[in-house]
Symmetry: C2
Subunit: 492 residues, 2 copies
């Protein structure tokens, strides 16, 4: 496979696919809309998962695991929920194959038809709330703070690697509370966990906001979200946290006795992020040479490449120094590798690690060694520097921190430069078409106007930012009065 | 729910279910044959997963993720494989629901029928080897050492929590090699990884062996296994490692060019362990008071329970000492909790932690504190000791190691005492019925005899132990000559 990557300016969509495929993040599969997550992509997801998992546990949550299958009738119990998911469900109808009596291989055994069809979970509110019914009787059983790492299936007609696939990996938190206030607090707390993760680990600045009624999760009273901006100026929803009110408790009859022995329905939240984040990471930071990964979640943070000539003594000096350096870095928790494979030339290796997004590359050549220096290249800016061997480990550790913060600053600047206040319809259209990015504009607050704007421009309201500045204005489409701007964008 | 546990002697099967349900490991679900893994059970599985994952990575394997769905036609490509799995497959036939025009809720949309049905993976050899076809061209692409953590579905008619469920969690390794020898070496290496894990972490002694042709994985040339003995004298297969020969490479046409540019089919292995191990752990070690967990994989290793009287100064002394102790233990990597919840009495807490299998319980009471001691109870033997506060942390760390090794020794002695050499058919029947355990007996090596013995006694050949002693003998059923004993048992 050629390592050639289409440039972003030539074809952004193709650039994205090239990176995902050629950097070894994922591959297409034989099953329509499903992907194979390759080792490099999976290692990235594992790192993201481990950080998030710790953040969930630190905020009091426990992991559990619920069935993959959901009885069809469960979906119907919450009206908005079934409306939102019924059209994209994989349905299990039979539980056995048999040999075709006509010799055509195996066929579905018609005698093994399920009495009630099973849905492959598109999300687990229904099966989980059906279980919570048995787990919650009293206020002493609350709050119940549970998270699940799982695969889910939503039958998508148009798919893209990581961004929208029929099956994807995710986590879904499902919590139960005694009061409305506590559930809302949980919803907001988990949104902040996601925002912190995106910004501090993925180096991805996000807008914290709340969705309009049109864009809410099917079954939620409020959907909070974090929204990020990709390099092509399109927005990407990077995580959602839902306040579900008592909707699922009522649908599954989950009541508890409070301290005064009074029965009430339980209050709920759910929240999730998925392998889609890997796609967001690629789109936010990478360049025409390949992946650019933030050090805190990069599977490999530093690679050391020796450059050998025929001088055996010099080779030994390089090996010795490299092994010492690597031991020092590993002892400080750095994920580092010594690539002294002599089946590949250094130049080939440089291109390969650049493609895979390794944040720091150290080259050790005989002449450099004589001068007591090494060449240190950083992936984000592609700058190279000659660094003294004496304090190379410390330099590398500082450099990793610098790359992490530089990537965040760069992405934040890009996002800020591409967030524009717009006050007229003409300007709105022009900015969307010519500059893209987030557009902060007044909206009259009605679903009809939101729908109309989407129809006319393909732009949606990404969110109403939290702590949004209140200002009088006029809706860009209808001219009706508005008290705040909302964030529009075309989105993934 | 009553915490009362049926005793092992009264009803072993009920005892097992009581422990699983009441210790909070799992719960039944609304979906036939599927279980909910509750937080305590999932934490145990997570610990097992993390240890195994590190062992896989240390032996050069990488994780990846392949689709949940397998096109029906893939299964048929390997003849033995489809024979083994077709009868227990969940089949997805449709991808959409719709509102019933007659008002009966949602129904499967007949217009959304898949052209080719999809099977929910019962194991992933077929979808993975279909992918490997694109990944392997040359000897330079080999070996390919990949593992996947995933859920799988096998439609079981009779299920038991953890031991046999329709959906279960597992890992499946799938490796590709240039030579037969290397693939066999990998198969054996991973068996040894499993055996080491079972013995050193689960405190579960296992027999390493190879399956007879009858008991082989569908599509394998050889199935290696580890077999453990449960407290009721029944055997449990705790892990398998398969040498797949070139069967899947041929089925999916995966060929590579060797160093001499000659084309050959790739050699394969696969290996897996599952959440079934949690069931094995319960059955091997627990007692009539609840779970007994080996410290190395116990979610919580030590619990500290204060016993307060009304003396506030004494309470403060206890709290201060406990916090210090816990900090010391945590700094040494011990998973420890201070349970000073005053909504529950100490006696209730003791029973609860006993039920949940926490290896060490420390009680801190005012009188003990005055005497500079604490009461330390170990879960495995239920012994209590009065230990000086001066070196309590060190004592606890030694105790954890002692419990781990004691549990292994106890289980090993039980296994050895319940492995009996038997030379006649009458004795074989008698031992199976009256003493259970492993029975080492001669077998004439034919599948027909093996089948007949299974029919007559429900005992199966668990394995032919590796490095088995060779000795002349006569088959217990047919009297035909045999060169070695094999291990029989009734099994889960």
């Amino acid at each position: 496979m050629s390592k050639e990557i289409t440039s972003r300016t030539a074809d952004y969509a193709q650039w994205y696919n090239d990176i995902v495929l050629k950097a070894g993040l994922a591959d297409y599969s034989a099953v329509k809309g499903c992907m194979v997550i390759k080792p490099h992509g999976y290692a990235l997801w594992e790192n993201m998962r481990d950080v998030l998992d710790k953040m969930f546990k630190d905020t009091g949550h426990q992991n559990a695991y619920f069935p993959l299958f959901i009885p069809k009738s469960f979906l119907s119990k919450e009206a908005a929920h079934v409306e939102g998911f019924a059209k994209e469900c994989a349905v299990v109808t039979h539980y056995r194959l048999k040999n075709d009596p006509n010799g055509g291989g195996v066929i579905v055994d018609p005698d093994a038809k399920l009495e009630e069809e099973l849905i492959v979970r598109p999300t687990s509110e229904t099966i989980i709330w059906n279980t919570y019914k048995d787990w919650i009787q009293s206020y002493r059983d609350l709050p119940l703070l549970i998270n699940q790492w799982a695969n889910v299936v939503r039958w998508e007609m148009r798919t893209r690697l990581f961004l929208r696939t029929t099956e994807f990996l995710w986590q879904e938190g499902h919590t139960a509370h005694a009061t409305r206030e506590e559930a809302i607090e949980e919803t907001q707390k988990m949104l902040e966990v996601y925002a912190t993760f995106a910004e501090e680990y993925m180096a991805l600045p996000v807008v914290r906001g709340v969705k309009t009624a049109n864009e809410r999760f099917a079954g939620a009273e409020d959907t909070y979200c974090i929204e990020a901006l990709m390099q092509d100026g399109k927005a990407l929803q990077a995580g959602t946290s839902h306040f579900l009110g008592q909707n699922f408790a009522k649908a599954f009859d989950v009541q508890f006795r409070d301290k005064d022995n009074k029965l009430d329905y339980v209050w709920a939240t759910s929240w999730g992020v998925s392998t889609r984040l890997v796609g967001a990471l690629v789109m936010a930071h990478s360049d025409d040479q390949g992946l650019v990964l933030p050090p805190r979640i990069a599977p490999l943070q530093v690679v050391v490449v020796p450059i050998f000539n025929k001088d055996v003594a010099a080779q030994e000096r390089i090996n010795n120094y490299a092994n010492e350096l690597i031991a020092t870095l590993k002892a400080q928790g750095v994920r580092v590798k010594y690539d002294n494979d002599d089946n590949a030339r250094p130049g080939w290796k440089f291109a390969e690690y650049e493609l895979k997004g390794v944040p720091v590359r150290i080259a050790l050549g005989p002449r450099d060694m004589e001068n007591n220096v090494a060449e240190v290249a950083r992936r984000d800016t592609k700058e190279k520097a000659s660094v003294s061997l004496d304090n190379l480990a410390a330099h590398v550790i500082d450099l990793l921190a610098d790359i992490q913060s530089n990537m965040f600053i760069k992405a934040t600047n890009f996002r800020n430069e591409n967030t524009r206040k717009v006050d007229t319809w003409d300007e709105f259209i022009r900015v969307l078409d010519e500059q893209a990015g987030f557009v902060a504009a007044h909206w009259d607050g009605t679903p009809a106007t939101e729908e109309k704007i989407k129809e006319l421009t393909k732009a949606t309201i990404r969110c109403i930012p939290l702590n949004n500045e209140q200002e009088e204005g006029k809706c860009i489409l209808t001219g009706n009065p508005s008290s705040q701007r909302v964030l529009f964008a075309r989105a993934y």
